[in-house]
Symmetry: D2
Subunit: 291 residues, 4 copies
C-alpha cells in the first residue's frame, strides 16, 4: 500500500488548477497548502476542505517552512502559475525539499531551462513537466505507428481554439509573461511533433500574426505544415474549434479525450516516470526560435 | 418583440458571475464589456466571445464613456464585485446612464443605503438588488401559505454551508469587506424571513462566534431561532450541507432548486419588477444590528 | 479675503505629488482626502495631517460622495496618477462636482481629449492642465522676445535627463501607460515650442530609439531640431543632465528655476486662468504623431 | 583596501529605503538589484543608477540566481519590506548565499524568530538586525553611565510621534502586518530599555488604546513607565513630537542625532559586529507580550 503524499499548489485560482486538484484527489493524495494572488478559490472545498490557503507568497513560504521544521514537509509542489513565474516557483519547491510538478511550458527561454537544470542538479529533488497530450489515446497510437514506420511523413497540424478579447488583456496575451500563442498553446503540439517525428532539423518558414501563427518545420521523420490560431475568423463555418493532425492524408482528431489526462500524468510522475528539464532542451529551443 | 439590451458587468472573475452571464444569455441579451482585477475570465467565451474585457476600472470607464458618446451606451450594469464595493459601483452605473443590477447584499450599512437611494433619486435610472431565493419554489409556497394564515408561527432556520480555510483569507472573511457571515451568507435568509414573516419587531438574542452565528428574532408573524455556520463541525454526520426552514414543525428543504433563479430575477428586472434600495431598509438595518 | 478651497488628490504616493501638496499648502488651501494604491504616503503629515487617505478608489469615491451629500464637497480634484488614467480621473472629478487640476500630459490620444472636452462641456466645471514650464523665468523672457520678433528662427532643443533601469520597468516605461518618453518627458518641451513658435506646420523627421528620440519640426516661426533622452550615454562628460534651448545660436539653460512653478500654476488656476483641454488639441495631436 | 560588496535590496520604494541606500553608498559599496511592488523608485538614480529594478519577486529571484550562477552573486541582501514579510525575505537571502541586513523589527513573533535562527544555523550566512538607536550619542552615554552604576533607576519614556489617518490605512496600521504601534515604533525603545537596564523581570501594567499605548515594566536595573503614541492629541502644546527618556529625573532628548545612524550600523555589520536573531529573543518576546 503506497503512502499518502503531501502536496502544495501555487496558482490554485487559475484555469488549469482544477485538473491538478482532481488528479491529486483521484490518486489518493492530499493538498495541504495552496496559494494564489486571486482569492476566488472555493474550488478547494470540493477536494481538500482542510487545505490552508495563502494570498501572499511570503505567508505560504512561512507555513511550508514551519511544516518542514515540524517534520511535516511537503513531498510535491505543483506549479500552475503564469508561465514566466514557473522557473522561480520550481526553484522554490526544490529549496523547500520537495519534488516539483510544473505546468507547460516549463520555462520560456533556453537560459531559464539551463538555470533550472542546474538548480535541480544541486538539490536532491526532481522537476516533472506536465505534457498530458502525450497520453492522449490517439497520440499514443500515432506514436507507436510512426516508431515502426520507415521513411518521411507529410504532416499538417491545425489547432484553432478561439479566445475572446479577454485573452489579449490577460497575462496570456503578454508575450513576456506567456511567451505568446505559439508557446502558450503551441508547446503541447510542438512537443508531440518532436516526440513523434523528431528531432528537429530546421524551421523552414514562420509567419507570426497577432492572433495566428503558421509555418513549416523539417523534422527527422516528417515535413510539417502547422497553423495555430486563437482567432474566430480562422474557424471553418459553425465549428467551435478545430484540432487536427493530418499525417500522410489521414486525420487524427483531438477534439475529445482530454479528460483524465492530468491524472495519468500524476500517476506516472508519482511512479517515477518523469519528463524532466533536461528532456526539454529541444522543445524550449524551438519555442524560442518561433518567437 | 423586445429589443436586445446591452449589459456591462463588474466582477466577472468571481464565483457568482457565471450565474449572471448565464441569465443574461438565456434571456437573449448581450454583455459588451466586463471587468475584473483577476484576469482568469475565460468563462466569457462560453457566452459572449465578443465581449471587451478590462483589468482596470479606468480603462473600463473609458470604453463605456466612448460607447455612450457614440450612441451605444449600456442599458444595464451588473455588479458582482466584493460586497463593500457595491455602492460605489452602483453609483458608477447610474452616472454612466444605466440601470444597475447588483448582487446581494446591496450595501453593508444603513448609511450606504441612504446615499445610494439619494444617488438613484438624482438619476433617471434604477437599481435592482438580486435576492433570488424569493423565487425558490418552496419559498414561494411558504410565502403564500403564511400570507393566508392567522396567528404567530414558530420558525427554526438552520443554514450550515461549510467553507474551508480559504474563506477566512479571502475578502469574504474580512468583515469590513463582506460584512461577515451573517451578512454575506445570511442576507438571503434574513430577507426571506422579513419578507414572509416581517416586519421585524426585535432582535431577541445574538451570539457571534468566529465561524458560526446564532440568535433569535421576533417578527410580526413569527418567533425565529436561527443558526448560520460555515464550520464543518456544525454539520450532522456525513451531510455536505444543511439548509432548512422548519415552520411550525414542518421542514422545508432548500438543498435543491437553486438553478435558474438568477434567470428569473433577470426576467423580472427587465420586465420592470425590481427590489429597489428603498425596499431594503429593514434588511440592511437588521444586518447592521447583527454585527 | 479669499475663502479656503477644499482639495482632494489622486496619486498622492507618486513622484510629483509633493509639489502639488506644497503648492496647495503655500497658497493657503487644504487637502481633505487623498488616494493612492501605494500606501507609502507619510508625506501627507508634513502638509495636511488631518487628510483622509484611501488605498482603494471605491472607498475614496464613497467618502467624497458622503462629504458632498453633507454639503462639504470638494472644490478641486488634483490628478497626479499615471498618465493613462488621467482622463478617467478627470471625469470622476467633474462628476463629483469639482474643478480638476491635472498633471501633464492631460491625455495620451486626441480621441481621449475630445471625450474630455465633451465631459467638461456637459458639466458645470473645468479642467486645468499643469504645464509649469511656461512660468519658468527664462521661458517667459524668450516668449516675449519671440512675440515681438519678425521672421523665422533656428531652434535646437536638447533635453537629456538620464534615468536608471527602474524607469523602463515602471509604468513610465510602458508606452500604453505613459505614452513613452516623447510624451511623458517631451510634452513640456513640445508645449513650449508650440506656445512660443507655433502653430505646427509639420513633422519633418523623427527617429525613435528605445531610450532616445530625436527629430525636426517645422513651426510657424521656427525650424526646430530636438533631441530627448533618458540615456546616460547621451550626456556630455561629467554632467548630470543637459536641458537647453538654443535659439538662433543663443543658449537658454533650463537646469535651474523649477522650484515653486507648481505654486504659480495653482495661483493662476484658482484665479481662473486655465490651460484647458480645448487649448491642448495641437499638443496632443503632435504627441500622437510622434509615437 | 577592502573590497566592494554587492548588495540587493527589497522594499526600495518605502519610507526607510533611502537611509539604507545612503549608508551603502557612503561606505563605498554597491546595490546591483532592487525590488518593490511600488514602482515609484526614482531615488535609485541618486545613488546607484545602474541598479536593476524589479516589481515582481520572481523576476528578482531569477536575476539574482543568474548573477550567482555566473559568479557574481550578492554579498548582502538588505530587507526593508513591511514587517510581516521580514522572515520570509531573510530566508530568501540566506538561500541566495548572502548575508542579510534586516530592518526592525526582525520578526513579529517568537516562533518566527526560532524559525529564522534555525534557517541561519543551517546556512553559512548571517542575519543582522538594524537597531540604529543604540548608536545614538545620547544613548551611548546613558548606556555607559548605567553600566557603571549601582542600584535601581526610575525611568520614564515618552515617545509621541504623531501620524495622520494614512497610517491606519497603510500596512503599518494593520496589526497582522506591522505588529501594531508598540512593535512598529516601540521596538527601538524597548530594545534600548532592555539593552541598558535589562533583562526583563516583568510586565507590570499595560494599556493599549487605538493610537496610544502605555504601561510599566520591571527591568533588572530600572522601573519603567512608558508611553508611545501616534496621536496628535497626546502632544504638549505646539510641539511637533516628543521623544524623551527621563532617568532618575534627568531628561535625555532624542529629537536630534538620527542622521547617519544607518551608516554606523552598516559599518559595524560589514566589520562583523552584528545584532543577530539569537540576541533578540527577549525583545521579540516582550513585543509579543505587549500585544
Amino acid at each position: 500500500m503506497s503512502e499518502i503524499k503531501r502536496f502544495a499548489i501555487m496558482g490554485v485560482g487559475g484555469y488549469v488548477a482544477p485538473k491538478h486538484l482532481q488528479a491529486i484527489y483521484d490518486i489518493g493524495h492530499v493538498v495541504i497548502a495552496a496559494m494564489d494572488v486571486n482569492d476566488s478559490v472555493g474550488i478547494l472545498d470540493r477536494y481538500f476542505p482542510k487545505c490552508q490557503f495563502f494570498k501572499e507568497f511570503e505567508r505560504f513560504e512561512r507555513f511550508l517552512t514551519k511544516e518542514k521544521r515540524e517534520g511535516r514537509g511537503i513531498d510535491y509542489l505543483t506549479v500552475c502559475t503564469p508561465n514566466y513565474l514557473h522557473d522561480a516557483h520550481c526553484r522554490f519547491g526544490l529549496r523547500m525539499g520537495a519534488d516539483v510538478i510544473c505546468e507547460k511550458p516549463l520555462v520560456l527561454n533556453p537560459w531559464n531551462l539551463e538555470a533550472l537544470i542546474e538548480a535541480e542538479t544541486q538539490s536532491d529533488h526532481q522537476i516533472a513537466n506536465i505534457l498530458q497530450l502525450r497520453h492522449h489515446p490517439e497520440i499514443a497510437k500515432l506514436k507507436s505507428k510512426i516508431d515502426q514506420s520507415q521513411g518521411r511523413h507529410q504532416v499538417i497540424l491545425n489547432y484553432i481554439t478561439p479566445r475572446g478579447g479577454w485573452y489579449d488583456v490577460s497575462w496570456k496575451g503578454d508575450k513576456t509573461k506567456s511567451g505568446g500563442t505559439t508557446t502558450n498553446i503551441g508547446v503541447h503540439l510542438f512537443d508531440l511533433l518532436l516526440w513523434i517525428y523528431g528531432p528537429l532539423e530546421g524551421v523552414v518558414s514562420l509567419d507570426n500574426l497577432p492572433r495566428t501563427s503558421l509555418g513549416s518545420l523539417r523534422l527527422h521523420k516528417a515535413d510539417v505544415q502547422w497553423k495555430l490560431s486563437i482567432d474566430f475568423a480562422e474557424l471553418p463555418n459553425g465549428q467551435p474549434s478545430l484540432r487536427q493532425i493530418i499525417c500522410d492524408g489521414e486525420e487524427i482528431k483531438l477534439d475529445y479525450g482530454f479528460d483524465g489526462l492530468h491524472k495519468v500524468c500524476y500517476e506516472r510522475i508519482v511512479a517515477g516516470e518523469l519528463i524532466r528539464p533536461k528532456d526539454l532542451r529541444q522543445l524550449i529551443d524551438l519555442m524560442h526560435q518561433l518567437r
